[in-house]
């Protein structure tokens, strides 16, 4: 009885996995061995190891790293202070709320704010620094990316801080630990899981951003994601696009292994 009903539930789900998880990944791998004319070749892989693509990969990783770093630096204190507030679940919800607003609209808002006559420039002029080009620079790209990923970094860190047993802090205090020592030796190590999860949630999408690079960075920044989109939708070179995708998947798996298994239910 149990066995039969179990098999019954498995059918639609396993079908879904086979069709939409396993097959697409295999197809990407398959296509990576074809050049633009449809010949079976390893040319794409050779091309990937030329300076053009290696430089792009490196800069993509660099931007993702910077974005993750800034998100973490801003998110950790935020999450920490949030756990100290009275109605912390409500405040957390308010922090998460902007992440539910369509991503494109937020990016679009920054077109106005960072534009030549936008709010940011008016502010700079008001304080006497003077207006300057903000949109289409590295700064605007990193700022907007951090803005977008911030809630995703705060959430897992908040959860792990929230689970922290407060008696441990008292113990550290009683044993003479200063607040910095307590943070370094007790709080941070115990919330490392949340930090890792947050970095994972931010780093992987940051590697593959593509619409922000076009809207905010004005095509100046090319990430792996931009390159994949370019190859698939503009130059129609699916083979090279797939090859880059294969490397992105490898990078993703490596990051997952490095940062450990993500805890369930963190999203």
């Amino acid at each position: 009885m149990r066995t039969n009903s179990r098999n019954f539930y498995l059918i639609p789900y396993v079908l879904w996995i086979a069709l939409f998880v396993v097959t697409p990944l295999l197809l990407v791998l398959y296509y990576s061995f074809f050049d633009i004319e449809g010949h079976l070749t390893l040319e794409n892989y050779r091309k990937f190891f030329t300076p053009v693509y290696l430089k792009m990969t490196l800069s993509s990783f660099w931007y993702a790293f910077i974005i993750t770093l800034f998100s973490l630096l801003i998110a950790y204190p935020t999450a920490y202070l949030l756990t100290k507030t009275k109605h912390k679940q409500l405040w957390l919800l308010l922090i998460i709320l902007p992440s539910w607003i369509n991503l494109l609209l937020k990016a679009y808002a920054f077109l106005g704010i960072f534009g030549t006559y936008g709010a940011a420039n008016s502010f700079l002029e008001a304080v006497g620094i003077g207006g300057r080009q903000i949109l289409f620079t590295d700064f605007s790209f990193i700022f907007v990316s951090v803005y977008i990923f911030l809630p995703f970094m705060i959430l897992p860190i908040f959860n792990s801080l929230d689970e922290l047993n407060p008696t441990l802090l008292d113990a550290s205090n009683d044993l003479g630990g200063s607040s910095w020592v307590t943070f370094k030796r007790v709080i941070f190590p115990l919330t490392l899981d949340g930090v890792k999860a947050g970095c994972q949630i931010v780093f992987i999408p940051a590697l593959s951003l593509f619409m922000l690079t076009r809207l905010i960075a004005g095509n100046r920044v090319i990430t792996l994601g931009t390159a994949i989109e370019q190859h698939f939708l503009v130059t129609q070179d699916w083979g090279m696009g797939s090859t880059i995708a294969v490397f992105l998947i490898i990078a993703m798996v490596l990051i997952m292994v490095l940062t450990g298994r993500r805890k369930r239910g963190i999203l």
């Binding site: 179990r6 879904w16 994972q200 619409m211």
Partner: protein
């Protein structure tokens, strides 16, 4: 530590201001009678009027909502089946394999999901458009539903199922009268998550949508690339309102989730 208690509040306030500024910036300028996002000339509702007169855009909104509702409903059904399949898998290895495969689409960058689905749909000869977008949205929503429903099933005591079977319930009765009512909050949470994922998605849709069919995100992207136009602002104000309603609904459902014995819960 205690003598400067103002700084935490200032820091948190700053984070909140930064997180909400772009959204309110957009909404503020949606009432601007001038056509730009930097000079407020006077109050007007023209942009809203224009929005509601724009049949093409309204059809796109309708498309987006239909896709979201349909994909959320279908992915909820598959996801619940999947959660049941995972929960009732007897072998640990089967369970872990299913869970890992389930998480592939959650951690994969959108670009890779989009590109691989594009290959898949082209391979099986599916015309890009409504159906391909719908299938893609179902595909990436299923794992979310599984993750939302699974904990609910696992916390449910199996003795309830045995009791029902001892009392002569058929397999269908067990599912509809015992399991489903118990996991309803999880199912609703999964449905809402799937809904917001679908409404919010840009990257995957961008890949699998053909020429004739667009969703809101894709449309905003192409509008934003052409520059600022204030009916997008009006649209974003409405979407913000809608999101708040959705989030509030979701908040109350998860609240109910936490307190399964609360009053007014239909059993």
């Amino acid at each position: 530590m205690k003598n400067n208690r103002k700084w935490p509040a200032v820091y948190l306030a700053l984070i909140f201001i930064i997180l909400y500024a772009p959204i309110f910036y957009l909404i503020f300028y949606s009432f601007n009678s001038g056509g730009t996002m930097y000079q407020f000339e006077g109050f007007t509702l023209d942009w809203y009027r224009e929005l509601f007169a724009d049949t093409r855009l309204l059809i796109i909104v309708l498309n987006t909502v239909i896709i979201a509702l349909l994909s959320a409903a279908i992915s909820t059904i598959i996801g619940v089946a999947g959660a049941l399949a995972i929960a009732y898998a007897r072998k640990r290895r089967v369970k872990n394999t299913l869970l890992s495969l389930n998480n592939v689409l959650i951690v994969s960058p959108d670009v890779i999901i989009g590109a691989s689905f594009l290959i898949l749909f082209t391979m099986i000869g599916l015309k890009l458009g409504f159906v391909s977008v719908l299938l893609a949205h179902i595909a990436f929503s299923v794992p979310i539903v599984v993750l939302m429903v699974l904990p609910k099933i696992e916390e449910m005591s199996t003795s309830m199922i045995y009791a029902a079977m001892d009392l002569g319930a058929s397999r269908l009765d067990v599912l509809t009268k015992v399991i489903l009512p118990y996991i309803t909050p999880g199912v609703f949470a999964g449905f809402f998550m799937a809904l917001t994922y679908s409404l919010d998605d840009f990257a995957v849709t961008f890949f699998v949508t053909g020429n004739g069919f667009t969703t809101l995100s894709v449309e905003i992207y192409s509008l934003a690339r052409r520059g600022v136009s204030l009916n997008i602002n009006a649209l974003s104000a409405l979407l913000f309102l809608f999101t708040i309603i959705l989030v509030t609904g979701y908040y109350f459902i998860t609240k109910r989730n936490e307190k399964p014995n609360g009053m007014g819960v239909r059993q």
